[in-house]
């Protein structure tokens, strides 16, 4: 199988990058995303209020907070789907630092950021395979005219991408649905497909918005394994929004807590769990992690 090759490719890319001077010498692995005083307003509503944090390579970081805390909005800002009102977002791309606020949403896959959505947004009337192929969209090089004339160069390119996509589906256990319409998948697999589609962009940072929403404990635990596996296999940084505390505590290395747009705590699961502000923010919520 070629999947090992794929992982290897990503690894070598990383090795090259670790030679670059790191902007945070104290961190174990190099800085990937640097958010400073990020503020997002919708009219009078401050959805995200001066939030600063950093993500490092190969980390898995949880983002938690009560409903309406601004978690999704923060994701939208990182993926340039909502403009920043103030603050800065810097990403260490393949060719050095990138100011994310200057980019548009469609530039994100090119620099290595991919995301999923809180309410699954797969392309329902496309096949599972086609969904994943869309993830590879940005890597196509052949122009429209080459396609229209049916030129070999394009057919070659298409064949290669399709093989890669099939491999990815294989890896994620979706291969046997490859030619089914995406909407025919059961809910849990639709989530998985959405992650597969994001992975097909070959991201370095994967943003996952509430993957366990609408799932039972059993499915959630499977999902934990799944996400940890792909993170290891693809050498990703995962930034993950979660509502289910038990779930997020179980595998995050670090957790950032938002409440009413403000960052109220950050640290290891154990630290965050004891933090008085977090307990206060979650008072009345189930606290079933305790």
């Amino acid at each position: 199988m070629n999947s090992g090759l794929e992982v290897q490719q990503i690894k070598t890319m990383e090795n090259k990058e670790t030679n670059l001077p790191s902007s945070t010498p104290e961190a174990a692995s190099p800085l990937l995303l640097d958010a400073r005083e990020v503020t997002i307003r919708f009219g009078g509503l401050v959805a995200v209020n001066k939030v600063s944090f950093q993500l490092h390579e190969n980390e898995i970081v949880g983002l938690i907070g009560p409903n309406g805390a601004g978690k999704t909005t923060l994701f939208n800002a990182i993926s340039a789907q909502v403009p920043l009102s103030e603050g800065s977002l810097t990403f260490r791309g393949p060719e050095g630092k990138i100011d994310l606020t200057r980019l548009q949403a469609h530039d994100m896959t090119r620099i290595g950021i991919a995301r999923t959505f809180q309410n699954i947004r797969i392309f329902k009337r496309m096949t599972v395979l086609e969904n994943v192929l869309v993830g590879g969209h940005w890597r196509y090089r052949q122009p429209a005219i080459s396609i229209m004339l049916g030129q070999r160069a394009y057919r070659e390119e298409e064949r290669k991408r399709t093989a890669e996509a099939m491999e990815l589906l294989e890896l994620l256990g979706l291969a046997r649905y490859a030619h089914d319409p995406a909407r025919s998948l059961p809910y849990g697999l639709q989530r998985r497909l959405e992650i597969a589609r994001a992975l097909a962009t070959r991201p370095r940072l994967l943003l996952i918005d509430e993957p366990s929403a609408g799932m039972n404990d059993q499915e959630t635990m499977e999902l934990v394994d799944f996400i940890q596996n792909i993170r290891r296999q693809f050498g990703l940084t995962v930034f993950l929004i979660e509502h289910d505390m038990k779930f997020v505590m179980s595998f995050s290395q670090r957790i950032i807590v938002l409440s009413s747009g403000k960052k109220i705590a950050e640290g290891t699961p154990a630290e965050v769990q004891r933090h008085p502000l977090v307990i206060e923010a979650y008072l009345g919520e189930e606290m079933d992690y305790a």
Partner: protein, 321 residues
């Protein structure tokens, strides 16, 4: 060509062998049709059906793949028709090649019009897209009506010469039949290639979910405008052919109602399928002819048909679900 057509996944609801059989049978029938029917009238109807297939399939790129309702397709056809005809008759030298150059130019100018309309049209939200396209179609018609020195206004352009290749002149109806058929097939192949490429997938992704498409690295404006311009290009080619076939062009060929009819063809057969638009074009053209004795009631019946169709088969006759 049979092979390429059979391989396009446009007919993938059939298994591979039956797909081959169907496509082969259809092509065989199409190839001998003019010789089997002895009536010149039927060949004429077939020509109209082929012309409508060309423009309906071209509209399917925007209406089906991209999922934007365009009510201005007749405008792009008109741009192609008038450009081809005027260039051929008045500008280019008197040679058989001129028509083909003019035809290509007509397609390209229509594509340019597609870009010009596409960019502002894309900036507005889906629901009002069709108003802008309808507005564009009507503006084109007003220009054709009023720019008399070039277009001869409402009287239109008459005595449009027949195209030729070398010494062969397309004079008979069945000559045009084969011309239209070849161009339609070439266009279907090209569009199928596009549909099953990253470009086609980008269009469908945009149709399904713009926000997710954007997050997957698809430049919305670029792909929308691309769809619009390719669709208009083929519409323009269709227009250029229509002018030479009818020997006559007038703004009244390109009423808003014509745009709507073409859209109905696409939706009737099932949008986004290519063969749906094809089917719709043939069905609608046949329907029009059958209803000719009841001319007064024709539009009434078409209107009722549109309503009933939306109740019973919202995804078109060949569309699923």
């Amino acid at each position: 060509m049979v092979k390429v057509l059979a391989e396009t996944k446009a007919l993938k609801f059939l298994d591979k062998r039956r797909k081959w059989l169907l496509v082969g049978a259809l092509l065989a029938v199409a190839a001998v049709f003019p010789f089997c029917v002895q009536s010149s009238y039927l060949v004429h109807v077939a020509n109209l059906a082929l012309y409508y297939s060309i423009v309906a399939v071209s509209l399917d790129i925007v209406a089906g793949f991209l999922g934007e309702i365009s009510f201005g397709h007749a405008g792009f056809i008109a741009v192609g028709a008038y450009t081809t005809t005027i260039l051929n008759m008045r500008v280019l030298p008197d040679s058989w090649i001129s028509f083909w150059i003019a035809l290509l130019a007509g397609g390209l100018l229509a594509a340019l019009a597609g870009v010009v309309v596409g960019i502002p049209a894309m900036r507005i939200s889906g629901q009002y897209f069709f108003v802008v396209t309808m507005g564009f179609g009507e503006i084109i018609r007003f220009i054709l009506l009023n720019w008399q020195s070039v277009t001869n206004g409402a009287f239109g352009i008459t005595s449009i010469p027949s195209p030729s290749i070398g010494n062969f002149v397309f004079t008979e109806r069945f000559h045009y039949y084969y011309l239209f058929l070849v161009i339609l097939l070439l266009m279907i192949i090209t569009i199928s290639f596009l549909r099953y490429s990253y470009i086609g997938r980008a269009w469908i992704a945009i149709r399904e979910d713009e926000l997710a498409a954007e997050a997957m690295g698809i430049r919305l404006t670029y792909y929308k405008v691309l769809a619009f311009s390719i669709s208009s290009f083929f519409a323009g080619i269709g227009g250029g052919l229509l002018g030479s076939y009818l020997n006559f062009l007038a703004p009244s060929n390109f009423l808003a109602l014509e745009s709507i009819m073409i859209l109905v063809m696409v939706l009737l057969g099932g949008s986004g399928l290519i063969y749906g638009a094809l089917f719709g074009a043939f069905l609608m053209t046949g329907f029009n002819e059958v209803l000719r004795p009841f001319e007064q009631y024709r539009m009434l019946i078409i209107g009722v048909l549109m309503m009933v169709l939306m109740f019973l088969k919202p995804r078109g006759l060949l569309g699923r679900e």
